[in-house]
Symmetry: C2
Subunit: 325 residues, 2 copies
């Protein structure tokens, strides 16, 4: 059993049992992986994969067990390398951030910009996805950190650090009667109008739906879109009034009128989620410090090793205040 064999093993599993594809990903040849896999199976004395003809068809039950162990071995090996790289003060590397579109488009640019200034040799990869996918990417070691929002409690998987809190806003075209009245809209007002919001608001457990249902109303969702830019586009087109994250407001959106919705919807929290027992590169800590300045570097390190006390909120930085600072 060698580290290379284990690396090949998980590469094959992650490539959907396609050895050729796995070989490309690990920068090796297909016969090499094939042979190493066979040798590993010979040494262990059982099949890791079920063969159908020559192809791999499935992972055996025992293979799953081995895969799980192999993953933690490789993760710890990566940790050792990270310790070394930090000690050597290496400034190059990569940062894979799994996140949703809203975060990537509106919340992250400032922090990523600052990171790039301080560590120009670090290449950042934004990996968009829905909430579930984002956490899965982190879990499967396909991302280094995840940035994700919830309405209430932190996500269950991984270690969640609170980054910031935000509210939703109502977005109407300039001159729309809802904005003209001068007083903030009520849920009844909104229920009477066609809404444009995120795709996720179609889900039964979406916080938007639940806010309406809590008072016995049913929102009329005219259309949904994957990102805020699209929502704004359709609000402009008059398809309906928008409900979206306040971060999505830009100074250039002068033709749109944002109305507060703090009193209608629960506050949201954006979290930085990390894998347990992971050694972070210096520049990742730097990124976290930029993105969530209230998090002490030592808090982050401590949260990673032990299941320590949850991080407490600071004097609640609000989004607008943060960007102003």
């Amino acid at each position: 059993m060698t580290l290379a064999q284990l690396r090949y093993l998980v590469a094959i599993a992650d490539a959907g049992l396609n050895i050729t594809l796995a070989a490309e990903r690990v920068h090796a040849t297909q016969p090499g992986l094939s042979k190493q896999l066979r040798q590993l199976e010979d040494e262990l004395g059982f099949q890791l994969f079920v063969r159908k003809g020559k192809s791999l068809d499935a992972v055996t039950r025992a293979g799953e067990q081995v895969l799980e162990r192999a993953r933690t071995i490789l993760a710890e090996a990566a940790n050792i390398r990270a310790i070394a790289a930090n000690l050597r003060q290496e400034t190059s590397g990569e940062l894979r951030i799994a996140t949703t579109h809203t975060q990537a488009r509106f919340a992250l640019p400032a922090a990523i910009g600052a990171l790039n200034l301080r560590y120009p040799e670090v290449s950042v990869h934004l990996q968009p996805g829905r909430d579930g996918e984002v956490l899965a990417q982190l879990d499967e070691d396909r991302a280094d950190i995840a940035v994700i929002s919830t309405v209430g409690a932190p996500p269950a998987t991984g270690i969640a650090l609170p980054a910031y809190r935000w509210q939703r806003v109502i977005l109407v075209p300039q001159g729309h009667p809802l904005g003209a009245s001068g007083k903030p809209p009520s849920l009844e007002d909104l229920a009477a109008l066609p809404l444009v919001s995120y795709d996720s608001s179609l889900r039964d457990d979406s916080s938007l739906r639940r806010a309406f249902e809590a008072v016995g109303l049913r929102p009329q969702i005219a259309m949904t879109a994957g990102d805020a830019d699209l929502i704004k586009t359709y609000v402009r087109a008059g398809l309906g009034i928008g409900v979206l994250a306040e971060m999505a407001l830009l100074d250039s959106d002068t033709d749109l009128n944002p109305l507060p919705a703090d009193h209608l919807f629960a506050q949201c929290t954006t979290w930085i989620v990390l894998r347990r027992e992971t050694v972070l590169r210096e520049y990742v800590l730097e990124f976290i410090a930029r993105f969530a300045p209230h998090l002490d570097r030592r808090d982050v390190s401590r949260a990673l090793t032990a299941d320590a006390t949850p991080i407490e909120w600071p004097a609640a930085p609000h989004w607008r205040e943060r960007t102003a600072g």
Copy 2:
């Protein structure tokens, strides 16, 4: 970085930074380890050990970090091999039990005998030690399981499975007045007499001492010994009356008179302690099943992976009942 390098690394650390000794233990040559260690340090880019002249003097701070990770890597590699060995139904191997003398001498023989009958190719190593040492041995991967007793809660480190419960007994020579009265002795009776008990009863936190202190008495400990056989010897010699574990009573002790002490001292529990995240060989499960028959094999496996619900007591098997069965 290779698995061999990591293995050498922890071997050197465990050998007290003596490379030659470490080389013997891993069945390799000293120059081999020396070179591999250097190569690992070169690859990582920093010193794992502090050199004093040519010798290794200490582990560096970063070295400690790496060592910890290396240990879990090796443990997981061992787990993979254990999965394989179990699947192949291998019947040979070793079982290293870290435990105290009382357990080794009186409680374990039956289970070890049964294990040897079923798995004659398994070599059992009993590794005696005091309570703290026993758990340390388990923690440092120098034992596969630990068997240890406490008065109240289970030991904090590792996963503790309750094995059985027992009481202490008072042991006096035949014809001693304490046994002649016919009624069980009181703490006052005992406090007036010289006692012979385990070395551990000298500790301030010993349960023997605390039982007396709880009622404002101070026991008069005439002498202590490391094991029950010695205690019995000195009770026979008339040095005092014995206080020891009921398991230590043998049918052949006809010249000694055991008096119940259930009403004087708190009940003790003997635990089987395992390391977290460890794959046990089949024969270890077999041993556990023999030693603590009320533990379901699946309970054991489940307890190892997750921090699951603690095992509950069955219809409280008492020591005497168990040996009778």
